[in-house]
């Protein structure tokens, strides 16, 4: 249901982004204020201390080098992107006032007027060109180089206009621009000691591995924002220490807490848990090219053996969303709600198991702490399997070296996949026939051609239709079982208001700084 909001207008080719932009402003307004009667007016003032879950000398304020959640939060304090992803992962205009395209290949970006950097300089197309272009310079060492490579030409085409030409059509380009690596910096910036951006906070202190302090930017271009006077942000990598600091009142926001800790947090008065249903999943992998077990019937048998409700409640204390054996979450705008939910069904599992010809021999299923929750899931499936004559043998291997030694190599095992900004990126990385990370060695030429067509399709309804077919194909013919999407969980003082889930990650998709306020 949430996925429908963007498609309602029946988008026309080329005008899609303008429309999204217009709709986005309205949607964004409601995003800042929690809906319904609980709506409260944000309050100005106050300061908070917030802790993320990593901290090292590699902490950075160079947009091109961001690699951890804490980098994203820090950079979101100081910089803006051209677009930003909303709660349905749809791009909304930020520094770009509008984005239009010619056949999804030549993109014209109109910049917002009156935006200034922290040192007073006005935002110009030259800044945008520099910020985007530097990712293609190998000396910069940008993490986003693979994404940036599609931009063959980036040039200023007016006083407030930038035109970008892509090597091939990509209807998701506005989503790409909304990834944090494409934060806009000042033209010519090469030193990243004290960041200067257009963002909601001005850097007062940045010490890698220690802390970051931002003070309110009084000239921020979003009226009234941000609300807090100051944010001190640092990392406490140890989860217990982080939760204890919250419980002891030393910090007001603890990013990334485990389902186990949520009980402690909820039990204390004045503390709350913030849940972000997101696209992280630990998936069952049945390699279709493995001898013996490598057939679709065996994969289907295991898929039917997943007791999703029980897994959700027992492993994640309810903080998870049920999956339908494909990687798209119900909150995604491209989610296909018409596919019936696959349920726990030992009878169907037995039918497929008998058809698979695996017989009574022991089948090893590889689990590891590296794929969070895999051991628990496998044990539940082992239990269910024993009732239909399937003899699963849970083989535990260490987390260290798991991705190099077991993942993609075990006939039956588990993976753990983080959310990606767009359906296209996710499908290309993990399901395209020739993808190096095609986890179940699943090959479907029709899927590949749909993927390529959808990438250049700017009509939302048509794309949704294609992505919908692809979800069905993964669900019914691949060797991947996705029982659950587990949520990101953060703990915070109840007085801290204004956070709404953005499924990119926890802490409001790493973008809490400009959105939160302290209630009196």
């Amino acid at each position: 249901m949430r996925g429908d909001s963007d498609g309602s207008g029946g988008a026309r080719r080329r005008e899609l982004m303008q429309m999204v932009a217009a709709a986005g402003l309205g949607a964004a307004g409601s995003l800042w204020l929690p809906e319904s009667a609980r709506a409260q007016t944000p309050r100005r003032g106050g300061q908070i201390r917030a802790a993320g879950y990593s901290s090292s000398t590699a902490d950075t304020v160079d947009p091109a080098k961001q690699s951890l959640s804490t980098d994203y939060v820090r950079c979101n304090m100081f910089y803006n992107t051209l677009t930003a992803l909303d709660g349905n992962l749809a791009p909304q205009p930020e520094l770009a006032e509008s984005i239009t395209s010619d056949r999804a290949t030549v993109w014209t970006i109109k910049l917002r007027k009156g935006v200034t950097f922290h040192d007073g300089k006005a935002l110009t197309p030259a800044d945008v060109v520099y910020s985007l272009q530097r990712h293609n310079d190998p000396k910069v060492g940008s993490i986003a180089k693979p994404l940036a490579a599609q931009m063959t030409e980036i040039k200023a085409t007016g006083t407030d206009e930038v035109t970008i030409t892509l090597s091939a059509p990509n209807a998701d380009f506005p989503v790409v621009l909304g990834t944090f690596h494409f934060h806009i910096i000042k033209e010519g910036t090469t030193e990243f000691v004290k960041p200067i951006g257009t963002g909601p906070y001005i850097c007062k202190e940045f010490t890698p591995g220690v802390r970051t302090i931002g003070v309110r930017n009084p000239n921020y271009w979003k009226p009234g924002k941000p609300y807090l006077d100051e944010i001190e942000f640092f990392g406490i990598p140890d989860e217990t220490a982080r939760v204890n600091a919250l419980l002891a009142g030393d910090i007001q926001l603890a990013g990334g807490v485990t389902p186990r800790s949520t009980r402690l947090i909820k039990a204390q008065q004045g503390l709350s848990v913030f849940e972000t249903p997101a696209g992280v999943y630990t998936d069952l992998i049945v390699r279709l090219d493995a001898p013996g077990t490598g057939n679709l019937d065996f994969a289907l048998a295991l898929k039917y053996l997943q007791d999703r409700e029980q897994m959700r409640d027992a492993i994640y204390q309810g903080f998870a969303v049920i999956g339908n054996d494909h990687p798209i979450t119900p909150s995604n705008r491209f989610y296909n709600a018409d596919i019936p939910q696959r349920a726990f069904d030992p009878d169907k599992a037995k039918f497929h198991f008998q058809k698979s010809g695996v017989g009574t021999s022991k089948v090893p299923i590889v689990v590891s702490p590296a794929a969070a929750g895999s051991a628990e899931m496998a044990v539940m499936m082992q239990e269910a399997g024993s009732k239909i004559g399937l003899d699963l043998e849970v083989r535990r291997v260490p987390g260290d070296g798991y991705w190099a030694n077991y993942w993609l190599k075990s006939a039956v095992g588990f993976g753990n996949i983080n959310p990606r900004p767009s359906v296209d990126i996710l499908m290309t990385l993990f399901f395209k026939s020739d993808a190096p990370w095609n986890e179940s060695a699943w090959k479907d030429p029709k899927f590949d051609s749909l993927l390529a067509t959808a990438r250049g399709e700017t009509d939302f309804a048509k794309r949704k239709q294609m992505y919908g077919e692809m979800q069905l194909a993964i669900r019914d013919t691949s060797g991947i079982g996705i029982a659950l999407f587990n949520s990101f969980l953060d703990g915070h003082v109840s007085k801290l208001k204004g956070m709404t889930p953005i499924p990119v990650g926890g802490m409001m998709g790493f973008n809490f700084p400009e959105n939160v306020w302290l209630d009196a």
Binding site: T57, A58, S142, I236
Partner: protein, 318 residues
Amino acid sequence: MNAAMLRLIGVRLLLGALTLLIVSALVFTATELLPGDVAEALLGQSATPDAVAGLRAALHLDQPSWKRFLLWLGGLLSGDPGRSLVNRLPVVALIGNRLPNSLTLAGITACVTVPLALTLGITTAMWRGSRYDRIVGMGIIGIVSVPEFLIASVAVLVFAVKLRWLPALAFRSGPQDFWAMMRLLAMPVGTLALVGIGQMARMTRAALLTVLESSYIEMARLKGAGAIRIVLVHALPNALGPIVNAVALSTSFLLGGVIIVETIFNYPGLAKLMVDAVSTRDLPLVQACAMLFCAAYLSMVLIADIVAIVSNPRLRQR
């Protein structure tokens, strides 16, 4: 006598410099042998071959390693340990940021631990076999057997979460007055003291007992010297060597080896800095930290030896 002492110090300093050089070469080689380099560590999953090559060239990692080592050594000798490869900040600034924190923590811990440990060690040696000796001995073994992360976590749960007497994190921005500082550091210091006391106290007791069994102590006893006088005046000077060495080793450990306490109390000290540097293969920073720790060990041990010699007439005469 004084000249002999100076010669000893001179020789030890020279040997120390040689040790530092060897250690730096070893650490450099070991870091080179670790899989991956800083370019790969920085790029992570997007480490495509051309991206890695470009970043390597930008960081001068494409030069042969002996050349990089000599460049680094030359820089160090002229007083510049270089810049971090990861964040391009000067290594001096990164260490300068953390060193005062580590020194504060180590200093306060030593001030608490050393007198307590010596007192416990001396008194248990004096009343060997008494009920007091046995209770203290068992207590010390009990505490030493508990891993420090458990002590620290339980302390946080009790004093910060339940009682709310102390803050759970040991670090605050901005200047702190003396009492605020004590409150912040109470739990880290307490944890480290509990771990450190045991070793020092048992070493002191053992060293003293060996001496107390020797014949000249028996002689003193026969001459009618009191128990306290025997321990403090007759036995202690002879036992001081091993005791000071134990103290020196424990305190130099406090400078760079307290990663668990730094992690649990989120205290930005040198141990965490070095772990970061190793995990990102940040050679200049790794080298600088290694040099610093090594120099600290060497000088503590040197000071311990000098103290032992000065306090012991027999060694002094040689």
